[in-house]
């Protein structure tokens, strides 16, 4: 009986009512989800949500530069979190910055999934030499931190592309760099799950009635390995956002014309010593809260989908 129930729970679909019920009973997870959703919505509808358009040169006034937050002396009610050196509203630049940060984060997670999941499926299902080659590449890549690989890809892109073209394509280069640096986790997890699934009766049965290997992998095995992928994707999103912010902070990420949260922190960092702390600290706080919320969500999801902890 006990064995039957663990078996059922391990194969349970990613979304079902039980999971939803768990979720509603975890206040931290709900709060994290609300914050994450809030960031996504604000980023998606930035032009309508933000009080100002910080990139409309006609609307930005240099006379408003370096105003402190509204509640401090010298603050201006029009700019609740103050303004930066060019007179842009800090709150608005954060909302537009979150748009770039989340966009790059989500896109690079999707890219990592698109590379890692098929490779993991093939490695696990085919086995033998294919498996050995894929996993050896994964091992080598895994022995270096993702940020170093992303930095390197970015450096190569700078060498290969002319300056203006690189600035134009910077966001795509960044997505590529972060995506490629993160595929290994997915491949290893999917491979492990595939090795288990491959031996099960339903796969044997499908094979016996002549279903082709790609069809078995896609239609039969893939749905059963998606749970762990979702968990990794959530935690990876937090990491991807941090990586993007770090690269942009180091000055090798997105160009200042389309600032992400990391770029904003980099710009504000120059004003830290003259006392204009709000230009750095508010984007920094936004970044930390966003990453913390996504991390908490990922932690909860990992525990909720882990059959051993149930």
């Amino acid at each position: 009986m006990a064995e039957a129930s663990t078996r059922r729970s391990r194969r349970r679909p990613v979304l079902d009512n039980e999971l939803l019920e768990d979720f509603l009973h975890a206040p931290v997870a709900v709060l994290a989800a609300v914050i994450t959703l809030g960031f996504f919505l604000a980023a998606l509808f930035a032009p309508w949500v933000a009080p100002h358009d910080p990139f409309d040169l006609a609307a930005v006034n240099l006379l408003d530069a370096l105003l402190p937050p509204a509640w401090l002396e010298g603050g201006d009610g029009r700019f609740p979190l103050g303004t930066d050196d060019q007179g842009r509203d800090v709150l608005s630049t954060i909302i537009y910055g979150a748009r770039i940060s989340l966009g790059v984060g989500v896109a690079s997670v999707l890219l990592a999934i698109a590379i890692g999941v098929p490779l993991g499926l093939v490695a696990g299902y085919a086995g033998g030499r294919v498996d050995a080659v894929i996993m050896r590449i994964a091992d080598v890549q895994l022995s270096f931190p993702a940020i170093l690989i992303a930095l390197l890809i970015d450096g190569v892109a700078r060498g290969l592309l002319p300056r203006e073209l690189h600035d134009e394509l910077a966001i795509y280069v960044l997505i590529f760099a972060i995506g490629v640096s993160g595929w290994v986790q997915y491949a290893r997890t999917v491979r492990g799950s595939t090795l288990v699934e491959r031996r099960k009766e339903y796969v044997q049965a499908a094979r016996l009635i002549g279903v082709s290997a790609p069809a078995i992998m896609l239609r039969h095995i893939l749905p059963n390995v998606l749970g762990p992928v979702l968990v990794i994707a959530t935690i990876h999103l937090a990491l991807a956002i941090i990586t993007e912010a770090t690269l942009s902070f180091l000055g090798v990420g997105v160009p200042p014309t389309q600032p992400s949260l990391g770029t904003l922190i980099r710009i504000g960092n120059d004003y830290l010593f003259s006392g204009e702390w709000w230009i750095t600290i508010f984007p920094g706080a936004a970044l930390a809260i966003l990453v913390l919320a996504v991390n908490l969500l990922g932690d909860w999801l990992r525990d909720a989908l882990n059959p051993r902890l149930r």
């Binding site: 080598v140 022995s143 930095l151 912010a245 902070f249 090798v252 010593f273």
Partner: protein
């Protein structure tokens, strides 16, 4: 033992050859090395002569082999930006990065292990729960942001610590150290804490998880039944057995500390290799990038190798095959 070490060595060599290939491809095919060496006014014939003299017309494998041979001797050519030998540039910057990395690793261990043990033993305690919360928040704040916060609080507001550079350094042969002067030590505090925080939370969580796992095992229960003191059980039996995985992870993390020093060095303008590397990427200084890459790969490979061998020496189960052989012989 010998077979194990040899197999590991072969793997390490393979990794180095692969990284060498990437570094070589970077060096040879990203941008034209000739264009980066000569000025605008050099004629085509002169360029061709230089190309021939530098062996850039040789077959791929000949060039690759030459690159590796030079790299093994520490010769990575000239930096495009500084117009100086790359090896010299890196040798200048190496002590700063290594001192920072080891200080951070030591700090992470000295604080992380006791915190891990404490949170495992007083699982429901308020302070332990607090540590766990702080560690989750710590993981979520990017390294560079922690550095900026420290600068704001201790550098700008309180003015206790310097916010950039290494302070005064003392030369010991080719090695420069900041550990022997007051200003050098003061300058080390904030960068080391910044770099250590993430590893500290990692070690704390690891020690905690391992301790909890070990405390559940039968031999701990028997030790309790035998009436041994809690202190003996916790530190003599439990902690000792958690140290193997901790040692492995810390060893492996040493490599990523050196890599993550890139970020910390940028925040604090610490004159190490990481700062050099970021500048090299910004300026597309390929020889510096290639050299840094190979050096970091070498660090990683050596650390992996040492950790594997230590692991083998410490954990008797991995030596089972040898014990069997001896038993029968």
């Amino acid at each position: 033992m010998l077979a194990f070490v040899l197999r590991r060595l072969a793997q390490a060599l393979l990794v180095m050859l692969t990284v060498g290939l990437i570094a070589f491809a970077l060096f040879r095919y990203v941008g034209d090395p000739i264009n980066n060496l000569v000025g605008q006014e050099t004629s085509l014939a002169e360029r061709e002569a230089l190309r021939e003299r530098l062996g850039l017309n040789d077959p791929f494998f000949v060039q690759y082999a030459r690159f590796l041979a030079n790299a093994a001797r520490g010769d990575f050519g000239f930096s495009y930006i500084y117009r100086r030998p790359v090896a010299e540039l890196i040798a200048e910057r190496l002590p700063a990065t290594l001192e920072l990395s080891f200080a951070a690793a030591l700090l992470a261990l000295l604080v992380g292990i006791p915190m891990g043990v404490y949170t495992a033993l007083r699982r429901r305690g308020v302070l332990a729960q607090g540590f766990m919360m702080v560690s989750l928040v710590g993981v979520s704040i990017p390294t560079f942001l922690i550095g900026i916060l420290l600068i704001l609080v201790f550098g700008v507001l309180l003015r206790w610590l310097p916010t950039f550079g290494r302070g005064e350094v003392v030369e010991l042969g080719w090695w420069t150290t900041g550990l022997l002067t007051v200003s050098g030590l003061k300058a080390l505090i904030m960068p080391a804490v910044t770099l250590a925080l993430f590893q500290m939370t990692l070690i704390m969580r690891l020690v905690r998880a391992e301790m909890l796992e070990v405390l559940r095992t039968d031999y701990i229960r028997f030790a309790r039944a035998r009436g041994l003191k809690s202190r003996t059980i916790h530190f003599g039996h439990a902690l000792k057995n958690t140290l193997v995985p901790v040692m492995t992870i810390t060893g492996l993390q040493l490599g990523s500390i050196i890599a993550f020093a890139i970020i910390t060095e940028s925040v604090f303008q610490w004159p190490g290799m990481g700062l050099l590397f970021v500048q090299a990427i910004n300026e597309v200084d390929i020889p510096v990038m290639a050299a840094y890459l190979m050096l970091i790969a070498l660090f990683f490979v050596i650390i992996n190798l040492v950790v594997d061998i230590l692991y083998y020496l410490v954990d008797p189960r991995l030596r089972a095959d040898r014990a069997v052989a001896h038993g029968h012989g």
